[in-house]
Symmetry: D2
Subunit: 334 residues, 4 copies
């Protein structure tokens, strides 16, 4: 099946190209970025010898001529107007931006006025472990944010056991590719190497995304308090969730049971690290308890499970292919 990649210049766009080059069912028929006029292997020199294709300036009608599904790796706002055009032309969309992740009111509170009110309510949230059935029939998938992916996969199994009167704290650590490719003082080597710090504590936009999904899936209103940190690694994300249990339950058993049939969630028996999931679509999770104090610990690759490989899993499900078709499971990092 022919597919398009819109927004090929950034980190997640490059990862989409790499995954789809070796995918046996999807064939890249169209690549676009904001400038066009370059071959994709000049845009990303590491692709030399692997793919030879022009990069276009995105045009929805051209996409509709050559592709049945499009991956959008665009800035929010830009994404919703282009998605709307594609959907009207009958192209399925997996959107990697934030534009369709939240309910309308919540989106407009935390981002900006929405420009595609028609489609936002039918978008399916692309967290496969919790939305697989809806994904099968979806024409529009909102690919989750990296922090919400790792946080929700850790938190959701325990929501029923957590004391609603105590706050939940999520201390998350992200590699610098999470901040995007745009030049930025905090992603300069001299700033972040041998360094680490929180940013936007209690104010990051992924906080309402986590809170909303817990509410929708579990009907619980928690105080979710989210503090992201930047750490000196290129890719990878580690999430530490802290909460109070209502009573001293068997947390290992709860976790084990929740994911026993999930190919891409691995339950670990010791603290997880980011190197074991980097380069793959796996989410590794570990849980520990001290009396009623709960620690849930998850790890993902922010660019793959937190973006591009999860997008391809979602596309696989939308198109009736095997969920793991073309999905990276092995990384060449020791």
């Amino acid at each position: 099946m022919n597919v398009a990649i819109i927004g090929a210049s950034g980190y997640t766009g490059l990862e989409l190209v790499k995954i789809l080059i070796t995918h046996s069912k999807f064939n890249i028929s169209y690549i676009a970025n904001s400038t066009g006029n370059i071959n994709v292997q000049d845009l990303h020199p590491s692709l030399q010898g692997l793919i030879d294709m022009p990069v276009e300036i995105a045009n929805a009608k051209e996409v509709a001529k050559v592709a049945k599904l499009a991956f959008l790796a665009l800035p929010h706002k830009t994404s919703m107007s282009f998605a709307k055009e594609l959907l009207d032309l009958g192209v399925k969309v997996v959107d990697l931006s934030a534009d369709y992740r939240l309910e309308l009111e919540n989106y407009e509170k935390h981002y900006c006025p929405h420009e595609d009110k028609e489609n936002i309510s039918s978008a399916v949230y692309g967290l496969p472990e919790y939305y697989k059935n809806q994904l099968k029939d979806a024409n529009l998938v909102a690919n989750p944010g990296c922090y919400p992916t790792a946080s929700l996969l850790a938190l959701l199994p325990f929501v029923d056991y957590i004391d609603e009167n105590s706050p939940i704290f999520i201390d998350a650590k992200s590699g610098v590719t999470g901040a995007g490719k745009k030049l930025n003082e905090i992603t300069q080597f001299a700033h972040i190497n041998e360094n680490t710090h929180a940013y936007n504590p209690f104010k990051h936009r992924h906080m309402p995304e986590i809170q909303e999904k817990v509410k929708l899936l579990k009907d619980k209103d928690f105080s979710v308090n989210f503090v992201p940190h930047l750490i000196p690694v290129t890719r990878g994300m580690l999430v530490s969730v802290y909460a109070s249990l209502k009573e001293e339950v068997d947390v290992e058993a709860i976790l084990e049971k929740s994911y026993k049939n999930s190919e891409f969630v691995r339950v670990r028996n010791s603290a997880v690290d980011i190197k074991s999931t980097a380069g793959t679509n796996f989410c590794d999770i570990f849980v520990a308890r001290n009396g009623k104090a709960l620690f849930i610990n998850s790890s993902i690759d922010n660019l793959l499970r937190g973006a591009s490989s999860q997008a391809v899993v979602n596309a696989n499900i939308m198109c009736g292919f095997e969920e793991d078709e073309g999905i990276p499971k092995i990384a060449y990092a020791p």
Copy 2:
């Protein structure tokens, strides 16, 4: 005043040598490690051209002949037996190990039987901001652990305002020198670069140290739940304390007031980073609030404020010198 450094091979021993080389009141008259028989500049080649002195095998009587105060950078258990000898000979001791940090019962619960029951109860806990008066007359100072230093300086100003029924969570991130110089799989570059993970979650020995000091200083029994993480930086430590407030108080004002006269605590108006304190004795602290959810964020150099420079501050106070004599405040890191 002549001083001795016992345990010069490790990271903290080297930092002690460097600080004391340029100290105008203390003069290094004796250096020891477990093997002796080497010049200190061969033991640490970066000292070439700065100091020229033999390294001995530690002997308490020899120390007593040439030094009035000794810094012990020894493994726990080794430290208490040597400290006892020195104290009996009239040598003042700043002990960087864990041996005198806890009350006897607590120590024996978390470490091992204590071999110097005579002196443990008179040891002063060397956190200068909270124990300055006792330090002035001390003959034996227990230098705090690195995690407790950063955690207590963050937590103590807020203890009276925190809800005792909710757990306190401390998510701490440490550079790999915190694990010591002994060869170790987790401190290998190939393991920890581009990686991060928790270790000993809820089980680290610094957890009872923090809890005990909160109890002693503030008479509060909290559930303090401590999760340390290893991050790919050489030195530096970032601590994130999460707690529930009893009510929505002005946390910035509380913090500002607590440390307005403290030379080595800097109150920050945005999230702290470890690079700003690395190479110095400063502890930087920032606080934020989301309703009753509290985030306190502190940063220190684990080898300096978390060990060697705090030890020299303590020695300065014990000997009636200026608190900041010889203490590093400027680091040559951009």
Copy 3:
């Protein structure tokens, strides 16, 4: 075809497992290390969910029962005695150690007495670009060292043009996995992060390997002067060759022509970096000239092209499979 991996604990052993898990022609039927008694996914936790197989203590007869070809990732000396046993039992061998790389006399000069004089002379040097025909019929392949792989691929196209009266200098930079997994002071994070240094200048054992192959392939006796450096990266190798040309030739054209049919050598038009080849079997090469001064610059992944993936390419050729079957070409590093 069933294959065995002998020496699965180290870095190159793990990479062999990962490559062969997804290889469509080779099937791992036997894995060994020095201790046995463990499942391979406990030996390497990142393999959880990917392979489930016991690790044995290596026994040549057992190997011969279940495998037709064995990859040996063993220390030198250990390797030659085990290889001999396997060859006698009719098992083909790809040896990743140094044991069969040199001519007998040269080996004994730089390593130790050789214990398999029978087979050393028939071993084929596994640099596919220069030994493809011999590899097709080989029963025993000596997989080249990482430094010689990157150095020879850079140097060989230019040997005929270099002034034999001037020394050739090779300044090589290797990631720390090149030093192996054994605990080591120089591979500790605190030593090598924010650091770099040469080691064994003019004395590394890969120097005679490079010199011998230049002599054998081109019949030229150069003074090859090799200085390896350790750099703070996990994997990857950059080689800078400096030499004097006999005359001012068109070096780009020479390079282009040499590798125009080589799938795994990419000629670059600007200085190469290690990130573009990390995680793949590619060798990227760039050349520049200043008058008669020559700079040839190559990059490989030291664990893949410098060891495990080159080993599998060699095995593919030995067994008549496509050269690139199962060989990694895409890495998930931005």
Copy 4:
């Protein structure tokens, strides 16, 4: 003596502030950058608690009112026009840019037309080991580039012994702060971490600077071929010089003799590393020989010995102070 720092925003400007804060003879009376209107501790938050002073927009007349000497950490071209103004007003100048480093013709060939032809010929090249006498009477000092500092200190002792018919190759590795603070794709963490590569091979502007000084000091015309590399470290520089000797001389003795009276050059007996000089003004040098093949290996901190601390050493000599007054010799890096 009151001094001014012009250009306080960049890396070298910050290092100048830090050095001069603790200098007992120089007192910072004026700080400028291109925008002004900020306190220096807001410009560089790590200075909180250490200095409290407004940053001005540079004005030569204002400088002349309050300072007798100015350090210029400005871009080339900007620097020469400002230096000229200061010199006319009787202010001594230590210029950290390239503007006065070369002879006029050489400068105009490699940079741009010169705007201060009056002063360029009287500027003294600030490499103290080779220009100390001239520095004593200088009003204008051209502080050397970082690469030329490390390269010349390594190369100069051996110039008389090197074969003039063979090219000299200099393979240099620099930390990313060498590229300056301006946002730049190659200094982004995601680009350079776990990476390394050459840049401007044979074309860097420091190549003519090295060649000219060898010519001026030793009257030798060598082919100096310079290839700089970027390595994933924040600060520090390692230089490897490769050359052919005329005959097999005792290179260790030559090196030892050259620097036996130099406080800031340390001759090492094994390969140097950058961590031992980082944070200090030291240059460490090691030499090895293989027949006539020569390897000279030096290490400096690119921001200190390669810029700011060397500038203060030069100022100390110009003003008749002790050469090492205020100069960092101890770094808090393990």
